[in-house]
């Protein structure tokens, strides 16, 4: 039992460290507008994209959809994770960044560098959605 446990723990450490050191973690494939739309429409059933706000630093995107729907996209390891946003949406603007709280604490806040004007405009739409 002890030997089996030690082998298991050692094996876990070996595989994880090997995966990290050999650099097989690929950063999330570049997110452009087309990829963001594809992600949003694939993940959220019935979602039809209208507009995309891409984070300039590769931090994710918000895709605006028909019917007042939004898709929040963030990098998750070498993939992207998507959340459909529903009212109320808590948003903050910090200089060029729009910070969105999708309501899932384990998903976390998503910070998008989209420029001050775009951030204010989108924040107003997201807050209005909550109203």
């Amino acid at each position: 039992m002890l030997a089996q446990t030690l082998i298991s723990v050692g094996g876990i450490a070996l595989v994880v460290l090997l995966a990290r050191w050999l650099g097989v973690r690929r950063p999330a494939a570049g997110l452009d507008a087309k990829a963001a739309v594809d992600l949003a429409e694939f993940t959220l059933a019935g979602f039809v994209a209208d507009d995309v706000a891409l984070g300039a630093d590769g931090g994710g995107a918000i895709v605006s959809g028909q019917g007042g729907r939004f898709a929040l996209i963030k990098p998750h390891g070498s993939h992207w994770a998507v959340r459909g946003i529903a009212a109320p949406v808590a948003v903050t603007v910090e200089s060029d960044d729009l910070i969105v709280d999708g309501g899932d604490p384990m998903f976390g806040l998503v910070r998008l560098r989209i420029g001050a004007e775009a951030a204010e405009t989108l924040a107003a739409r997201l807050r209005a959605q909550a109203g």
Partner: protein
């Protein structure tokens, strides 16, 4: 009869095969590893064995208690082993299908599907709450026919078999093999969230049950699999991975407007809601089919 533990014997092989797969991917082979995802998967697997050690005694005791009411004594012939493996695999199919269609069972099983990657470490991404979910009940009828030690051995064989099918390294096996056995190709479909692939290919060892019961879907080269769950976690936190769906059930039951809704939040398919505000696999497939029809009807540009 004293039988060996196939899982314990297979652990060194699991480790060596994962190392080989990591090296294969590193040097250009098909597949992908994200070290944090792998760490989460392997910690889930280790935790699952701990949970099994804690609760296994109760399952074994129940098995032997039930076996005293056995309706037949088939003995220990080789063909009884073969029959037991087949019967155990059918029981696995029934359990696995229920684990995708009944939220209570899904809450334990979703852990295994929660990775957005598909490699050998995903195979070990196992639940901590299988006993709490009562997943063992699906094998209980087998103890009325076969010796518990034989059934437990068969289920361990089934588990070990399913390790190697969790990979993108293997494309397709020979046609005769693909026709009968569960394979990496068939199981990639099972782990995919593409609407076409949702709730398909529940097989353990033999794909024949899916073909018999209408849940088979072949992998298509023009539709690569995207792995994970409909609402991906976006987190590598092991505790969240282990318990998120149970927390979701608790929240929904607490806020449900009626007792019937409370019950349904536990037993209806994942995604069911009393107000229809969420998506089940049926609604996802229906909307996808509508979209496909709409795209097909649009004039070519």
């Amino acid at each position: 009869m004293q039988l060996p533990d196939p899982v314990a014997l297979a652990i060194p092989a699991f480790i060596l095969l994962m190392v080989a797969e990591v090296l294969w991917v590193r040097f250009g082979g098909r597949g992908e590893y994200e070290w944090r995802d792998t760490a989460t998967s392997l910690v889930m697997g280790f935790g699952s064995t701990i949970a099994g050690l804690i609760t296994g005694g109760a399952v074994v005791a129940a098995a032997y208690w039930l076996h005293q009411f056995a309706i037949v004594d088939l003995g220990w012939h080789w063909w009884v082993f073969a029959l037991c493996i087949l019967a155990d695999d059918l029981a696995y199919y029934v359990f696995h299908r229920s684990a995708h269609r009944v939220r209570w069972f899904w809450a334990a099983h979703v852990i295994h599907h929660s990775s957005q990657h598909y490699n050998l470490s995903t195979a070990l991404r196992q639940t901590w709450t299988g006993f709490f979910a009562l997943a063992f009940i699906f094998r209980m009828p087998l103890f009325l026919v076969f010796d518990p030690a034989m059934v437990l051995f068969a289920s361990a064989i089934n588990l070990v078999y399913q390790f190697w099918i969790h990979t993108e390294v293997v494309g397709r096996m020979p046609r005769w093999f693909e026709a009968v056995m569960n394979t990496p190709s068939h199981h990639r479909v099972h782990h995919a969230t593409n609407p076409r692939y949702l709730d398909k290919n529940y097989a353990g060892m033999f794909i024949i049950w899916d073909k018999m019961f209408g849940t088979f879907e072949p992998e298509r080269d023009d539709e690569p699999c995207r792995y994970g769950i409909v609402k991906n976690l976006g987190s590598f936190n092991v505790l969240w991975t282990a318990f998120h769906e149970w927390i979701g059930i608790a929240r929904d039951v607490w806020h449900a407007p009626t007792w019937r809704a409370r019950w349904n939040y536990m037993v209806k398919p994942p995604g069911w809601s009393h107000d229809g505000s969420r998506d089940t696999s049926e609604t996802i497939k229906a909307r996808w089919a509508e979209r496909q029809a709409r795209l097909a009807a649009e004039p070519a540009e």
